[in-house]
């Protein structure tokens, strides 16, 4: 029954149940799990481990290293069961977020291209067991990943033992879409030969010594679908601003008609902005990104994108059914790479990417917070945004200008947590407009951001802050006593708006 997918005779004898595989995992171990943005995550063995712990009541804690976020029913239930000690480099799950912010889980938020280097260098400990999802195991025992490559190849290389989840629900037509390349140790490393988005530089499967595969668990379970929110009026306007800007770059001779390889962060806003290319005049577009969401496939369907390179595919349920039932038709226009390569500074700089990522908040000088709500509480993590923004040709950040019914301004005097500094932020887009910050000094940036990106309700406040700050002088003027006053006001009064807060106070008195 499984010979079509499990082609190595020796390994055919290592079929085990998820429960048996989970029984190999011991307290204190470090697990390297496949999975990137819910795609291609190890599912059955982590779940069996949670069940085991629930049944036995044993005290078990493991470190969980992954590509990026796992599906809710993996990250969520592990968090809930309290079995995670250290988690890296990214997550995006409600229950896990809560545990992280309560310091019940030690969370290390990393640039997604950095984890592989740390595994190689041994600075985050050894990987005891790699658990990776596969569509097939080849004749020579190599592992063909499913909908993501993530950190699977580096985990398999450095783990002491490997467990494979052979997922029958993942289409076998995924075979051939992967390009597994190992940059190798930094001493005597060679240039990564990739010079175009479609180039293949590695192998279609993860090579592994036969003896390292301890067991194979057969599963049949689809990835968690993305719960992406469809484009709305505001994100459509944002896409319009961005496309108008890119049109201007082409007109000025700074970009060719086909632009440059595009990267887009995870999430609804970035997806919606990408979606905006559908109605644009641009064709023959290239994508060099980490995650390929619905919009990429819509653009492939429309013939707008020529080729897309990514690290994972995560789709809404409807789009996923259509894409995976007909995956052969996409395969010559797609490649999935390890996240070390999809997010590698060498390639990002060489190809000159246009990087589009989502900001949680920006400040008047163009610093960006991607991770922390009100400066303290983790939302998801920095993900690949830092890999891309620092090294891209254009580091673009998108955000709606206000949140929480207008009580939060996404443009603030001083962001409460800095993930991207002014040096890495070229362009900011909100539904209000676009601020092109390239070559501008901080004071020039402030005027551009306030005038073009801030919500009109907040512009007077922002101008007042900036003007007061300027009276104190400096390259980056601030009134340090008031720098976080907006966040404090929101926490105390429920709004960043000055007048409303004052009125509320007055009413209260």
């Amino acid at each position: 029954m499984f010979t079509k997918r499990l082609r190595n005779k020796l390994i055919q004898e290592r079929l085990v149940t998820a429960q048996e595989a989970a029984s190999w995992i011991q307290d204190g171990m470090t697990l390297g799990l496949s999975g990137f943005t819910q795609a291609g995550d190890a599912k059955a063995v982590p779940r069996a481990l949670v069940e085991r712990v629930k049944e036995t009541g044993e005290k078990l804690k493991v470190n969980v290293y992954t590509g990026a976020s796992l599906g809710s029913e993996v990250d969520g239930i592990m968090a809930e069961a309290g079995i995670i000690n250290r988690r890296l480099p990214f997550q995006a799950e409600k229950r896990m977020r809560s545990k992280i912010n309560n310091a019940d889980i030690t969370y290390v938020d990393q640039h997604l291209s950095h984890t592989a280097e740390m595994v190689r260098a041994g600075t985050i400990g050894a990987i005891d067991v790699a658990i990776v999802e596969a569509v097939a195991i080849t004749e020579d025992g190599s592992i063909i990943p499913t909908t993501s490559v993530g950190n699977s190849s580096i985990f398999v290389e450095y783990a002491k033992e490997v467990i494979v989840e052979l997922n029958m629900a993942q289409p076998l037509s995924l075979e051939g879409v992967h390009d597994v390349y190992d940059a190798g140790p930094q001493i005597e490393r060679q240039p990564i030969p990739l010079t175009s988005v479609e180039q293949r530089i590695g192998t279609p499967a993860i090579q592994v010594p036969l003896e390292k595969i301890k067991g194979v668990v057969v599963t049949e379970e689809k990835d968690t679908s993305s719960s992406i929110v469809q484009p709305d009026e505001e994100t459509a306007i944002m896409a319009g601003h961005l496309i108008e800007f890119l049109r201007g770059e082409v007109k000025a001779g700074r970009l060719p008609n086909t632009l440059a390889p595009l990267q887009s962060g995870i999430g609804s806003v970035a997806n919606a902005v990408f979606h905006g290319f559908l109605a644009s005049e641009f064709t023959d577009l290239e994508v060099y990104s980490e995650v390929l969401q619905d919009a990429v496939f819509d653009l492939l369907d429309a013939g707008k994108i020529r080729f897309a390179s990514g690290c994972s595919i995560i789709l809404s349920q409807e789009k996923g059914e259509r894409v995976f039932s007909n995956f052969e038709s996409y395969k010559d226009r797609l490649v999935l790479r390890p996240q070390e390569i999809s997010n590698h500074p060498e390639i990002i700089r060489r190809l000159g990417l246009i990087a589009i990522n989502t900001a949680l908040e920006v400040d008047i000088y163009g610093n960006v917070n991607s991770t922390h709500v009100m400066g303290t509480h983790m939302m998801n993590g920095i993900g690949g945004s830092g890999d891309f923004a620092r090294n891209a040709r254009l580091g673009i950040f998108v955000t709606k200008s206000i949140a929480k019914n207008g009580n939060i301004s996404s443009v603030v005097p001083f962001i409460s947590h800095v993930d991207h500094t002014e040096h890495d932020v070229d362009v900011i887009v909100t539904e209000q407009g676009i601020a092109d910050l390239r070559g501008l000094s901080p004071r020039e940036r402030a005027r551009a951001i306030i005038d073009n990106c801030a919500h009109p309700d907040y512009r007077p406040q922002l101008r007042a802050y900036f003007e007061e700050a300027c009276t104190r002088g400096g390259q980056t003027p601030h009134v340090m006593e008031k720098a976080f006053s907006w966040h404090i006001r929101y926490q105390q009064e429920g709004t960043m708006l000055e007048n409303i807060a004052t009125e509320k106070k007055a009413a209260h008195v």
Copy 2:
């Protein structure tokens, strides 16, 4: 007389005085000047321009783009004369700093590897005139730089006209030390073939069409010597901590005996820490840095460094006299590259550098401020520290734990300006000790930094802040109302120390 240095017959006829060359410069122009950390800067023509403006009283403003900082008698007098409109990507001069902080000069503080890309992409305007210092012009009209390469090759390539300052005081023995490589436009760019610090991938001179060289000015003036402060007891202790840490990395098998190529930022502290290798057991060291300061040559003299790659050489007067009078003996162990290559993320990541840079202040979570005093006033600029820290194998930051007689703590609850985020800061070193932050969560980082790096006088205050912050929860706990209270206290009371400030207040009342 000049034929030994001015070898092209056609160009021999273009000798002009500095005054004549300066007369070509018009209001509104953008100048691309050679010079990196005071080394190899254009000297005579900028000075003649200042004199012209002083004499005529004309209103002239130019944009000044450079490699990095120029000598004081270039950057300083241009600032004083008020002829600079926009200045990028780095400066380190007192008078210029003052004008920048008064917003009289528009200063754009950039990653040093980024400027060349922006010139190529046309996002910071066109270069009207490149003015570059040379030790010689070859038979085919190519320009051999002096003590720095900086951005000279990209300025020469993109400028409409080129003026060469042929500096007879710079030793002709510099010829052959340079390796000029052009990464080329990002579309269809090839991998940069550099795989070892000593490898030469370019040409020994800057190639330029003959007709582009408008004039040659003969000068005879040494670079401004560095005013580097010699190692003191505290920097020696810091060097000791760092070397002990590296020893541990070797012992743990994470680094070979010869370590990995070293980078060190500009300045006395970084130089002193580098100096610490002299007394260490390490040999066959390699340097892949931007600026080569005294310590590098001391280590070359002692046979500790096998090969050093840089972008500029800046020495104290004494060391400079000894090195340049005997430069031939260093030449097979040195190479100078364009700053785009010395600071290139592709190479930094490939070679796996150990990057050592100076922090102005760090916060308890390991974010680093390299540029802004009290959050607002520019000191110098980020320089190459961001290029290196983000992509290095080890991003190390060094700072003394206190400043201003102990009234400033270099470790604060929340830094007043963020140049390097927690994601890029692996290790912090002060004279108190070392904090190895790799793989740690923010709360773990806070404990490591407070316990190991903060000055004992400030540890109780830092612990009190952190403990109060933890009661509020979050991945990165903060008390936003108090986040900048230390800076505000210093500004109001002259000290960050709580008790002293309280006592002062009490005495005042």
